[in-house]
């Protein structure tokens, strides 16, 4: 019997990145310290392979230059994977990110913008400040980008492979990786082999249940699961997975099934949560049996000792579930 190996999700992603480089010679990695393994260690496996080292492209410590650099490489036919130290770098490099989304609209759409950006997001590393923030909604509002959020640690390697393969079309893609998930240890048998189990960006039904439907993404999915357990109600949980575009049909269908909806989101205000609420009010109004409730966390900036407050508490989500379930 072969002993099971446990590896951190970061290590598994590092293996996947090396494998992606081997599979397609057009691929290059852009990011801070990537030639030395990267700030998160995501290029450690690639660095150990001499054949791949030439495609680990370091650069200045500036997100705008890194994103635009990768965009230029993609314009020239390369397939860059940008590893950012933090999702907050997307905001620092906002002009370049916006331009990346515009490439497909410029010059008659004849040039490639096949860039994938990996961005650790939200609390989890004990950083506070920028490192506690979840700017997914700012990024999802930019035209031209595909925006994905990892909601299940085990799916991460397959999600990365599907995104880097542009399974849903050659569109610049930002993958948000919740820091709470990145530090998970995963045994071999817990990580499904094979391709990503659904269309890229399609919502994932995490749980079935008739009392209410909980919508969440990223780090919020695990919180929703804990809150449903605590509430004692049988709730469906939907992981948005695709933040832009939203899997609108699946979300509307899931809403119609229970008519009692809770949306879990980071921070106090959130454009994705508001968009989902508006979408469901529009598409499922005849099925609604309670107000659509949104449960968020605290606004930043937060001191590092209190960074977890950026996400809603399990108790607050459970209270919202009880409120709609008994409405």
């Amino acid at each position: 019997m072969v002993a099971s190996t446990s590896k951190s999700l970061l290590r598994r992603l590092a293996d996947e990145i090396a494998s992606l480089l081997r599979d397609d010679p057009r691929r290059v990695i852009v990011g801070e310290d990537v030639r030395d393994g990267g700030m998160l260690g995501l290029t450690r496996a690639a660095r150990e392979d001499e054949a791949l080292a030439a495609r680990l492209l370091g650069g200045p410590l500036t997100p705008a230059a890194a994103i635009a650099h990768a965009t230029g490489l993609a314009l020239a036919g390369r397939r860059p994977l940008v590893i950012l130290p933090s999702a907050s770098a997307l905001i620092e490099g906002f002009a370049a990110l916006r331009e990346l989304g515009r490439i497909s609209a410029s010059a008659g759409g004849e040039r490639s913008s096949a860039v994938v950006i990996l961005a650790p997001t939200g609390p989890g590393f004990g950083l506070g400040g920028d490192g506690a923030e979840s700017p997914e909604d700012l990024v999802a509002g930019l035209p031209g980008l595909r925006v994905l959020a990892l909601g299940e640690a085990r799916e991460a390697p397959a999600l990365l492979r599907a995104a880097a393969g542009f399974d849903a079309g050659e569109q610049p893609t930002v993958v948000f990786l919740p820091r709470t998930l990145l530090l998970r240890e995963l045994a071999d048998e817990d990580v499904p082999s094979g391709s990503f189990p659904r269309a890229l960006g399609a919502a994932r039904r995490v749980r079935e249940g008739d009392d209410a439907t909980i919508f969440a993404w990223g780090a919020g999915v695990a919180l929703a699961e804990a809150a449903v357990d605590q509430s004692g109600h049988a709730c469906a949980i939907i992981d948005l997975s695709g933040l832009a575009p939203l899997d609108a049909d699946a979300l509307a269908a899931a809403a119609a099934r229970t008519g009692k909806l809770v949306i879990v989101h980071p921070g106090q205000r959130n454009a994705i949560a508001a968009e989902v609420a508006a979408l469901l009010a529009d598409r499922a109004i005849l099925h609604l049996d309670a107000p659509i409730l949104r449960v968020g966390g605290a606004d930043g900036p937060l001191p590092y000792s209190a960074e977890a407050n950026a996400l809603p508490t399990v108790e607050a989500i459970a209270a919202a579930i009880a409120e709609v379930a008994t409405y």
Partner: protein, 320 residues
């Protein structure tokens, strides 16, 4: 002739202000065919005049800057890209874009060739088959895109280089410094072409002037640099040819500062005009007559008017 305050120092002279050619430049000028070169400069000037009548928002004239467009179009090779600014539109027709298509894109209109294109700023054009990139709206972003393009050349190893054109006002931006750092750190085959002015009447804060010469600043950053006089098309061509050779040979980025003089200022002496300076040379050589000039201008203006009328769907105007 006395040096005017618009004449740059530290440049290698091809054509002097009176249009006299140094002996060393003679073979180059013969190879470039001086009348053909002159036609290109005049065409770029007349295109600028024509664009001035289009009514583009935020449009600024490029008269006086034509030598850069002409030299880049001559030097750019197959598979190489130019990331131009908005005042370098003349490059595309010189690379082969037909004027109907240019007019259609400048006007932002749909046409037989397809829907209206977003090319970044109003009036910008692009042509993927010719290696002409669009003009991103965020200031300086095209430098970093061009750096990525150059990085792809380096990875491919085919000895190609790409180029980017910008004004000196951009040299204070973060993206300028980031892009310079990126190209220098990666030894990327990129030719950075900065059009600067001398501001004898005082530079506005927007010019971002640190001392007199952007080239000196970039030399201090460790870059290969040249400074050229934008009124001297031979000097500009020579500096840019050296820069392309440097970049294509794998010796890293090359930075060329081209000192241009906006011609709308009535105090500017005639020799600051690259068209006039080459005209003087042709005149000395017996290659220029008023009749030649008149025929040339009539031909080009007629082509431009027909192209813009056609793009607008109107009946072609009568040639002037």
């Amino acid at each position: 002739m006395e040096q005017s305050p618009w004449d740059p120092e530290g440049v290698a002279v091809g054509l002097d202000p009176e249009g006299h050619l140094g002996d060393a430049a003679r073979p180059l000028v013969d190879a470039l065919e001086p009348r053909a070169l002159y036609k290109r400069l005049v065409a770029a000037r007349l295109l600028d005049h024509r664009l001035g009548r289009v009514g583009l928002p935020m449009w600024a004239p490029a008269a006086g800057e034509e030598a850069v467009s002409v030299a880049v179009a001559l030097l750019l090779g197959d598979g190489e890209w130019i990331y131009p600014g908005l005042r370098d539109l003349a490059i595309a027709p010189m690379l082969g874009m037909d004027l109907d298509e240019l007019a259609r894109q400048v006007l932002g209109l749909p046409g037989e060739r397809g829907p209206a294109l977003y090319n970044g700023r109003p009036g910008a054009i692009s042509a993927t088959d010719l290696g002409v990139a669009h003009a991103p709206e965020p200031l300086g972003l095209h430098l970093a895109l061009a750096a990525g393009q150059a990085h792809a050349h380096k990875l491919a190893g085919g000895g190609k280089a790409s180029a980017v054109i910008f004004g000196e006002g951009l040299t204070t931006t973060g993206l300028f410094h980031e892009s310079v750092a990126l190209t220098a750190a990666g030894d990327l085959p990129l030719v950075l072409i900065c059009k600067s002015q001398l501001w004898p009447e005082g530079a506005p804060p927007e010019a971002g002037l640190f001392g007199d010469s952007v080239a000196e600043r970039m030399a201090a950053c460790g870059l290969w640099t040249r400074r050229a006089d934008g009124a001297d098309v031979i000097g500009v061509y020579t500096a840019l040819e050296q820069a392309f050779t440097h970049a294509r040979d794998g010796r890293g980025p090359a930075f060329v500062e081209v000192v241009v003089t906006p011609l709308y200022n009535p105090d500017v002496p005639a020799h600051r005009d690259p068209v006039e300076r080459l005209r003087r040379f042709l005149d000395h050589e017996g290659l220029w007559t008023p009749a030649f000039e008149e025929a040339l201008e009539r031909e080009i203006l007629g082509q431009l008017d027909r192209a813009f009328a056609y793009a607008r769907g109107a009946a072609p105007e009568e040639p002037r």
